[in-house]
């Protein structure tokens, strides 16, 4: 869950004011790197192994930016044949295609390939199962 809790517990200063108080910068927030433009960003989840050799596994959270227009080789989420697919967008000639590890989805005549957005990054839980408990259950898992 990427949500910022801005308010910290109130700390009463008992002794001396910390000299660091004049140099506050705010702690790093991973969302700054993963999300380019929050108002154009959506999250989907990968639900197949079709992109394994491109580094996306089933269960990964896909960070999708809708403001980008894909070029050849971009990983996108697209809608075709009644389904959402996460694949590599291939544009050779005029005919776009979606390419995965073992498949290639092309449009037939009269069909439109609807690009929903561009995948800019992914999030994955790396914890082994025994450690996924308590508050750690929530790390990049749904």
């Amino acid at each position: 869950m990427i949500r910022v809790l801005q308010q910290r517990a109130e700390q009463k200063i008992m002794g001396f004011q910390s000299p660091a108080n004049d140099y506050l910068e705010g702690r790093l927030n991973i969302a700054d790197i993963l999300v380019i433009d929050p108002h154009c960003t959506y999250y989907f989840q990968m639900d197949s192994a079709a992109m394994k050799n491109y580094g996306i596994r089933s269960g990964d959270i896909l960070v999708i930016d809708k403001s980008l227009t894909p070029i050849d080789g971009t990983i996108v989420v697209a809608f075709i044949h009644g389904c959402y697919y996460c694949r590599v967008y291939e544009l050779q000639g005029n005919k776009p295609a979606l390419v995965g590890e073992e498949d290639r989805i092309e449009t037939t005549d009269g069909e439109v390939l609807q690009i929903w957005g561009v995948v800019t990054s992914i999030c994955r839980n790396m914890l082994p199962a025994p450690l996924r408990k308590g508050k750690y259950k929530r790390v990049c898992t749904l």
Partner: protein, 416 residues
């Protein structure tokens, strides 16, 4: 110059964005409690579905044309609205959000509108996936009029010369004009002036507007001649009251259940007040039976009480609201709707202390702040008043509710 930016069939478009298979399919969205049609895709309009049609009356059409029905998902619409408004605001020196799906943008200092406006539109449509139309004019009324034309004209329309304005108003029917309601329409028709277009209407003298349509009409007349007279910013700034009211799924006939519902509305109200940084001085509670059922006994009680001190804590508002609700409740009545209204609002900073009350709100304020904080992080309703109840059998009917695609991790879309 002003631009009026408006999302086309907003609720239907928002639903369709996440269900691309519904492109080209007629879609309608129903009001709270799945009552009436409040949004229609273009295809649904062609099927003859009207705005405000009750769901049970159009069931045959829905079946016949295979219309896709949605319950209103305000969580989704609220988020999509924020995205659209944020994207729009990047293009205007100032943007005044007028409703969930429309906003007025200032265009002071912007050159070459005919180039700029289509660019704005293309960018917003690409970034949000929601189709928008933009109308531009020297006044808000004319921008709104241009927007209606834009909807049938590729999404943008610009009225920037006297000629273009004259041309537009001369073919624009008066019943579509912003500010002309049913009453004024009737009045104009009753006077038998044979006025059909806005062009004809604005030829009437200023005094006619002032006499027949009050100062508002006078403003409209000025706006139609390109002189800005309507100030929406002022209207938006002064919030006079905040209401939370809902219809129930089934009739409520038990005081306990009514109390549960009113608790929920009151805590929602308190949340809204805190978000706006306001406290209320008066709290009104009301409930309705179903006036359309002549066989039911009718009861429309309402009561307003003055709070001991202006407040926005959940505790105070819930306590007061439930006491009133229980007092108003009459055995044997079938209530179909209830609500709470906060009145005479003042900023949190201007708290007036009452000499008979020692100010112990500090503690309750703190509890409320913690409540908001936890609910913001973990989702609304995570921590709530026990009197809200658990089952909430009275809660709204929303049989065709879509998911919280952009607000709940559990609801995000899966891709193959």
């Amino acid at each position: 110059m002003f631009a009026l930016c408006d999302c086309n069939n907003f609720y239907a478009s928002a639903e369709r964005l996440f269900r691309p298979e519904l492109c080209g399919v007629p879609v309608v969205v129903l009001s709270n409690n799945d009552g009436c049609v409040i949004a229609r895709s273009e295809e649904a309009k062609l099927c003859g579905i009207k705005m405000g049609d009750p769901e049970f009356l159009v069931r045959d059409q829905i079946k016949k044309y295979d219309i896709k029905v949605f319950s209103s998902n305000y969580v989704l619409y609220g988020d999509m609205s924020e995205r659209v408004m944020e994207n729009l605001s990047r293009w205007f020196p100032r943007l005044d959000v007028y409703s969930i799906d429309e906003a007025f943008g200032r265009l002071d200092g912007v050159q070459d509108l005919h180039n700029y406006i289509p660019k704005v539109r293309a960018s917003v449509v690409q970034n949000t996936g929601i189709p928008v139309s933009i109308g531009v004019g020297p006044t808000k009324t004319l921008a709104k009029l241009a927007n209606k034309i834009a909807k049938k004209n590729g999404g943008t329309y610009i009225l920037d010369t006297p000629d273009s304005i004259t041309k537009a108003v001369n073919s624009f029917p008066i019943d579509d004009l912003w500010g002309i309601g049913r009453q004024y329409l009737k009045k104009i028709n009753d006077l038998k002036l044979d006025i059909k277009t806005v062009g004809q209407l604005r030829e009437l003298p200023e005094m006619w507007f002032k006499k027949n349509m009050t100062v508002q009409g006078q403003r409209m007349w000025n706006e139609l001649w390109g002189r800005p007279a309507i100030n929406i910013e002022d209207q938006l700034d002064s919030k006079k009251a905040i209401t939370v009211s809902r219809s129930f799924r089934n009739y409520i006939t038990e005081p306990d259940m009514l109390s549960e519902a009113v608790t929920t509305y009151a805590s929602r109200l308190a949340e809204k007040l805190r978000r706006e940084g306001l406290r209320c001085t008066y709290l009104q509670v009301f409930m309705y039976t179903n006036e359309h059922r002549e066989d039911h006994p009718q009861h429309f009680p309402t009561q307003t009480v003055k709070m001991a001190m202006a407040t926005n804590t959940t505790h105070d508002l819930v306590k007061t609201a439930t006491v009133i609700a229980r007092k108003l409740f009459k055995q044997g009545m079938k209530y179909r709707k209830a609500g709470v209204i906060a009145k005479v609002l003042m900023p949190e900073s201007e708290l007036q202390l009452n000499m008979f009350n020692h100010h112990d709100e500090g503690k309750l304020d703190k509890i409320s702040a913690v409540l908001d904080h936890v609910n913001l992080a973990y989702g609304r309703g995570t921590v709530r008043m026990a009197s809200e109840g658990y089952k909430k059998a009275w809660r709204l009917k929303h049989e065709w509710l879509s998911k919280g695609y952009t607000t709940r991790w559990h609801d995000i879309i899966k891709a193959k």
